[in-house]
Subunit: 233 residues, 2 copies
């Protein structure tokens, strides 16, 4: 909490921020968390959660702190995405932002809004309002990354509840990859990896035959990974 002090340097420095693209999965739709800006510039516009990096914290810590402060979110999966630094991307002057990308289980964050003064909401990634700054670019980059990464690393599970059906899992991949997958082959492949624990439970409250529930076995994955195993599709 610096008071009316100031900081002086021999050469000019850009301001440094972090911005987070947080994805969640609502049945059938991929969502992104946006926050409505309360102050200029772009007051009233929707934007990615983010803010200034403090001098004593790492970039990852800054991203986690901002997410917690602005939306009460503590994601399991958080990774650096890309750094955006075009002069002119912020009307206040030179601001460079390190973008992060996070995956959360929507079920954990349903009553999300208004964790602090601002309002926050989930939007379909295919249908967002006009975003502040260059945040549309950031979102596009994040989508690309997600699409590329989901096939080679088991990060999709971070978007699902702990117990899920194979159909839910398949839909997740179909939504992210934007193409349909063959049910038979999808099941064969994913089960062959032996990373899913088959539970003695079925889904509830459905008006048709209930599907079996599975759980992702993180421990087993860590083991296999060390042994040189590569997750794929």
């Amino acid at each position: 909490m610096p008071g009316p002090v100031s900081y002086t340097y021999e050469y000019p420095r850009p301001a440094l921020t972090v911005d987070c693209v947080v994805f969640g999965l609502d049945d059938e739709d991929l969502k992104v968390l946006l926050i409505r800006r309360g102050v200029e510039p772009f007051a009233g516009r929707w934007a990615l959660p983010g803010g200034f990096v403090r001098m004593e914290e790492s970039l990852d810590d800054a991203a986690r702190r901002e997410l917690d402060e602005e939306a009460g979110i503590r994601p399991n999966h958080l990774e650096q995405l890309y750094t955006f630094g075009a002069p002119g991307r912020d009307p206040r002057g030179r601001v460079v932002t390190v973008a992060y990308f996070a995956l959360v289980k929507l079920s954990d964050h349903v009553p999300h809004a208004a964790t602090d003064a601002r309002d926050a909401a989930w939007f379909s990634v295919w249908d967002t309002p006009k975003l502040a700054f260059d945040h549309a670019d950031v979102l596009g980059t994040a989508l690309q990354r997600l699409k590329g990464k989901v096939r080679y690393q088991p990060i999709g599970f971070e978007l699902l509840p702990p117990k899920f059906t194979l159909t839910q899992l398949q839909r997740l991949y179909e939504v992210i990859l934007e193409r349909e997958l063959d049910k038979r082959n999808f099941r064969k492949k994913i089960l062959a990896m032996d990373l899913l624990e088959e539970l003695d439970e079925v889904e509830q409250d459905v008006s048709h035959r209930a599907a079996r529930l599975y759980r992702f076995d993180h421990k087993k994955y860590k083991q296999l990974e060390k042994a040189g195993f590569n997750f794929e599709l």
Copy 2:
């Protein structure tokens, strides 16, 4: 060239730099460009080329400018790698660096050294001296990225002379991926993509049967890429 002026801000700001990992391919070995530091901290140590970002230039421009200034290099392929910002990574204070990764044809930069006052040299990536700052981490990250990327995008060609033999190309992949490939399968695959132009020339000055030369067809690749084609292995 600011004179004795100074710049004052209400909140403290990290300094922002770029650092570049430049790869080149010497017959049989993957090389990285290093520069010997002339000033503290780490005076005398080898480090990645880089420097401070200016207020009016983009991050990419900063990377290109530093490469040109410090080593006279203008790479064809340059992409952002990762941003390193751990507090304490620079003994002078908080310095955040945006790392870039570049590929050049070594043949274009053989008489590299001493383009300005400092000395620059190519080192085998498997056998570098102790590096300044956290540059060993940066190099490691760059190697991982190169390894991952070379299989899905035809960037390897940036490391070879314009005309090359299939054996050279195969060696390139073997060096980067750190494993041997089958000659027949490799040729079958790469030729099946129809991205190589077969020339009516053979290599010169070899004491055995001369191999045919090929050229990578950038135009054709752009076309196929738009049509949804995916380069792989």
